[in-house]
């Protein structure tokens, strides 16, 4: 590329300005990547949800329980393959800031309903044998340095008072990188032994696995119809709808993130556009000379666009690579608050494409000015 020498010489004309412009691209792309990852975390539940799972909660609110006795009625509904149930435990490990989600599970069907969360058969057998046994997500185990055999106390905040003791009998791993590996599971029977009498036999929500995903909507309607006009009316949703409504409780995260991202890129466009405009204005006589020498209007436009694209390319890649490197650090720093942060290739590609688009747009107007520059007028500015 015979013009590369001229393009790079012009780029390095003002090194500090170049560094600052590349830096603003890098910071903007880093921020974009981080926002996209946070957005992904919040929408991940819906994205990775299984199509053949339904969540059944109390129609009034998820904090209102449903009787365990309803399980058998659900199992009788055509299309229901299996049913399991969870309760939110909400215990504290040593300090409130050491948050991680703890669930009371029904060991009978847990692995069949959630096959993507894998536990070895041996560890699962040990777990079933030990009423105080617990299965811990690999990330939480890593976070606290727990290993199989450790005894873990959790202070209850909902179910009576005092510490509950658990023995770690196994670790679970997600099949996919996006799978949540922060949960802590323990057995329904142990839970029933310790909760106050008034709360016995009450589950937080049911998870129903249906025979066919195509049948999910009909089954959901049938479940809600079954418990209509009962003291415990239900609200049944697909797992993705359940996850989406859960995220909605935090507000419109997606809108917030898209708005911030748009503002960031618009600001970047203004900053880079201004830089390119100054850069072109400073070089007006030189551009006029190039045109006088026989460089065409389009070639001059190409020079300006190439410069802004190189800035966007380098700054964008730098920001995205920084984001890739920072994800493990941020994941550790936000441990417990957010699941595994994963910079998806699609986010990387979108960020990169957006950076290039901003680079093109920021160079376009100054480039157009340079393209339209009258040589005689340009030479007068010497």
């Amino acid at each position: 590329m015979k013009f590369s020498g001229l393009i790079f010489a012009n780029l390095f004309r003002k090194k500090i300005r170049l560094l600052l412009t590349i830096g603003s691209f890098a910071v903007a792309l880093f921020l974009f990547a981080f926002l996209a990852v946070v957005n992904d975390v919040f929408s991940r539940g819906a994205d990775i949800a299984s199509a053949d799972r339904l969540f059944v909660i109390n129609r009034t609110s998820i904090i209102n329980p449903i009787p365990l006795a309803d399980r058998d009625k659900m199992l009788r509904i055509p299309g229901v393959k299996m049913v399991t149930h969870d309760n939110w435990f909400g215990g504290i490990y040593q300090d409130e800031k050491n948050f991680f989600p703890q669930f009371v599970i029904d060991p009978e069907n847990q692995r069949q309903v959630f096959p993507e969360l894998m536990v070895s058969d041996e560890e699962w057998k040990n777990f079933l044998k030990d009423r105080q046994g617990a299965i811990v997500g690999a990330r939480t185990a890593e976070r606290f340095g727990w290993k199989i055999g450790d005894r873990i106390p959790l202070k209850t905040t909902i179910w009576g008072s005092g510490n509950w003791e658990f023995n770690i009998e196994g670790l679970y791993h997600g099949k996919r990188p996006q799978d949540d590996e922060t949960q802590f599971w323990f057995q329904w029977d142990y839970f029933q032994e310790h909760v106050p009498d008034a709360q016995k036999g009450q589950v937080g929500w049911y998870i129903v696995r249906v025979d066919s995903p195509d049948d999910a909507v009909r089954v959901a309607k049938s479940i809600d119809a079954e418990f209509a006009n009962s003291p415990y009316e239900t609200k049944t949703e697909t797992e993705s709808a359940f996850a989406a409504s859960w995220v909605k409780q935090f507000g419109n995260i997606r809108f917030l993130i898209v708005t911030i991202g748009t503002v960031v890129f618009f600001t970047l466009l203004l900053v880079t556009g201004n830089t390119m405009a100054i850069s072109v204005r400073e070089r007006t006589p030189e551009l006029a000379v190039l045109k006088a020498l026989g460089f065409s209007d389009r070639t001059v436009l190409f020079f300006v666009l190439a410069e802004s694209l190189v800035i966007a390319l380098v700054g964008g890649l730098l920001g995205l690579l920084l984001a890739v490197l920072a994800m493990p650090v941020l994941t550790r720093a936000l441990s417990g608050l957010l699941p595994q942060l994963v910079l998806a290739p699609s986010v990387f590609a979108f960020g990169f494409a957006t950076a290039l688009a901003v680079g093109l747009a920021s160079g376009f107007w100054p480039g157009l000015g340079a393209m339209r520059l009258q040589i005689v007028n340009g030479l007068r500015r010497v």
């Binding site: 001229l6 030189e286 000379v289 026989g294 065409s296 040589i375 030479l379």
Partner: protein, 248 residues
């Protein structure tokens, strides 16, 4: 042979007929050139003189295809440039015109070598061929040992030599020099004029030069005065005449 009465034959290298240039300023019109005629043959060295605002630079800009006339025609080596499209005119400039400006107008971020190489980037020459051409030209202008210097590392005279190198490297049909010594001391100006004379005498270049300096103008083969939008020949004795020629 230079003529200003429109009597030149069709074999003139540059033929200007009835050239008008009018500018609009503040609601009024300023007619800078008024039906100007000019014939220049290959190998001529012509100096244009005249008071400020007489239209010298305007004439040079029109001859170089940097501006378009209000009326009239300019024909160079058989090509009438006054009716060319912008794109064609750009290509024509690259092939036929070498520009030398008063303020040198070098690209400050490029070395002397890279500045001289610029017009060759528009050709199909290979990198090695371009290098050979540039080195030859830098040798001709006496800057073979400064090819990797940036303009800021050169004196004014040296910068103008680089600019002349840039103007001749693509072997244009003619050179247009706008006050080439206007920003130089007498000694540097003398050296630059010596170089331009050398280009005319040894390499057969056609040069049209604008200057305010009568001493510089005397080095040209012919001096024309621009007054009231028309050219008139000078009666003063002139310097250079075409002699033995080399190919660059």
């Amino acid at each position: 042979m230079v003529r200003v009465d429109g009597s030149g034959g069709s074999n003139s290298l540059i033929q200007v007929r009835g050239l008008d240039k009018t500018y609009r300023r503040g609601g009024g019109e300023i007619r800078v050139l008024q039906g100007l005629n000019l014939d220049v043959d290959k190998g001529d060295f012509v100096a244009f003189m005249g008071p400020s605002g007489s239209g010298k630079t305007t004439l040079l800009n029109l001859l170089g295809g940097l501006d378009v006339p209000t009326r009239g025609t300019i024909t160079v080596a058989g090509d009438e440039i006054t009716h060319m499209s912008g794109h064609k005119l750009t290509e024509w400039r690259a092939r036929h015109v070498g520009f030398v400006f008063q303020m040198y107008n070098l690209i400050p971020v490029l070395t002397a070598f890279q500045n001289v190489e610029l017009p060759l980037l528009l050709t199909k020459l290979s990198k090695a061929q371009r290098r050979k051409h540039v080195e030859t030209v830098l040798h001709v202008v006496g800057l073979a040992d400064r090819m990797n210097h940036y303009p800021r590392q050169l004196s004014g005279g040296q910068e103008q030599r680089v600019a002349i190198g840039r103007a001749i490297v693509a072997d244009p049909t003619f050179l247009l020099c706008d006050e080439p010594t206007g920003d130089l001391d007498r000694q540097s100006a003398d050296e630059i004029m010596g170089l331009i004379e050398q280009l005319v005498k040894e390499y057969g270049k056609t040069v049209l030069m604008v200057t305010h300096d009568p001493v510089v103008a005397r080095r040209a083969g012919r001096t024309l005065h621009l007054e009231k939008g028309l050219l008139a020949e000078s009666a003063e004795p002139q310097g250079v005449a075409a002699g033995g020629r080399h190919e660059i």
